[in-house]
Point group: C2
Chain length 265, copies 2
Amino acid sequence: MTADIPITAYKMNCAFCSARPLGLCGALGDGEGFRELRDARRGARLLDSGAPIYRQGDRHGDLYNLVSGWVCLHQDLEDGRRQILRFILPGELFGQEPAGMTSMSHASQALTNISLCVIPAERVTDLRARYPGFSDRFVWMLERDNHLTMDHLTSLGQRSALERVAHLMLELAVRSSRRYPLAPGDRFKMPLTQPLIADATGLTPIHVNRMLRRLREDHILDLRNGALTVLDPGRLEAMVGPSEDLVRLWTRYAIVEGLDHDEHY
Amino acid sequence: MTADIPITAYKMNCAFCSARPLGLCGALGDGEGFRELRDARRGARLLDSGAPIYRQGDRHGDLYNLVSGWVCLHQDLEDGRRQILRFILPGELFGQEPAGMTSMSHASQALTNISLCVIPAERVTDLRARYPGFSDRFVWMLERDNHLTMDHLTSLGQRSALERVAHLMLELAVRSSRRYPLAPGDRFKMPLTQPLIADATGLTPIHVNRMLRRLREDHILDLRNGALTVLDPGRLEAMVGPSEDLVRLWTRYAIVEGLDHDEHY
DNA sequence: CGAAGTCTTGACAAGACTCAAACTGGGTGG
DNA sequence: CCACCCAGTTTGAGTCTTGTCAAGACTTCG
């Protein structure tokens, strides 16, 4: 179920630990700050698909960096309805809450087998205070989260069921591959079930099924057996209409000063 | 239409300029940092109801602090549909975007006559780098925004039309008055039209009208002539089910170290 | 007084949800 | 190797919520 793994087992896309200079820690260089961050890690965790990472109402304390696998953040209502707020992909940070909150406002769950890097929130706060570049990247990540969440808000509030599903598929294809534009026939591994898509789009699983069928019959995309095939990128993008800036946020982990294009990733 | 006003005309609830120790600048104390912030202001602006503050696609550059009046942030689709992302109340900050964005992803509009405090974004970045307490509050505000947006996302995705309208009304009553809990008969000035509520909840104006009528007939609340009367706070809260933490975010501008309760506001 | 914007209502249409059932594929245990 | 089970997917029929269209009433303001 849950296992601790040695630090050496980390993959290379932890924003805290590696992926320099792209991740959070890139701002710390190779010096003292980076060593501090590395030493602050509470440890790594391996979790099985389906396992909760934290629950709604848990006391707040740690930040998480997803090293491998997929995670979703979701908010549950008392009567069982739940909204998936965001899908977390490798290299992304999650688990932060405004200071002063007594408990987590949302839960998180592994969608695949995952590996995580765990850092106490107060250590991050401390590093932020002492390393401005580190703080800047942290702020950038918050602003990015905000931006993506607002985009979802517009999608749920204004788009039709078909558009919402298309929007989510395009976003996840681009975010998971960091590639744009897409070509006809591109395939992406996507560990999503239709009930998950339903919780993310505010639809019922049955209706998601119908929308996916329609997208397939219209030769726009085909989601099956955990893989998405983009059949007609042009029409897909036309349905979604992502801005240039939005695509940039989809293809990046963090702002990197001086680097302005995706080619570096 | 637009007018510049002398610095002396500021009211006391600008997070940059005053409202100390509660606003952003509170962390700067009375010393050098505070003077720097005050001097960094690009100036103040008065705008008439309905005026745009910035448009979607405008170049990014300034941060805004609302001194008086109401503002909404909204994101528009090409075909005219629009989603209201957030209502901004006096004392709140808006206009930030992730570094690297070329243009604003959303627009903002004055819902009443307003007064604004304008600060160049790069000056804020600079102050963040040099004053950690200032940076903490800035981060806190971002996290708060994020939290509120996620709450709206859950509302749009999971709640019925009636619940969404009730949710918005409760939130705005509490946020605008900074008072909780509510008592039967409490009245709140609220410069909202039904089309605005529709854009915020993802419904049509006509359906908003139906929902408001039902809430009125059920003696839960009454929104009329720009004022909301809460008739039955108990049932209203039961419909919305806000957590303790959420209410705390509704009643506060900023984290203030050492102060833990609303009584200070 | 007229005009514009907002609110209200009714009748109808459409999109999305509910319920029920059959089908698929992968894993488990006999 | 097969039977079974399970979660996920697919489909159909019927219902209900919400949206659309149209028109009238009420405010506010010039």
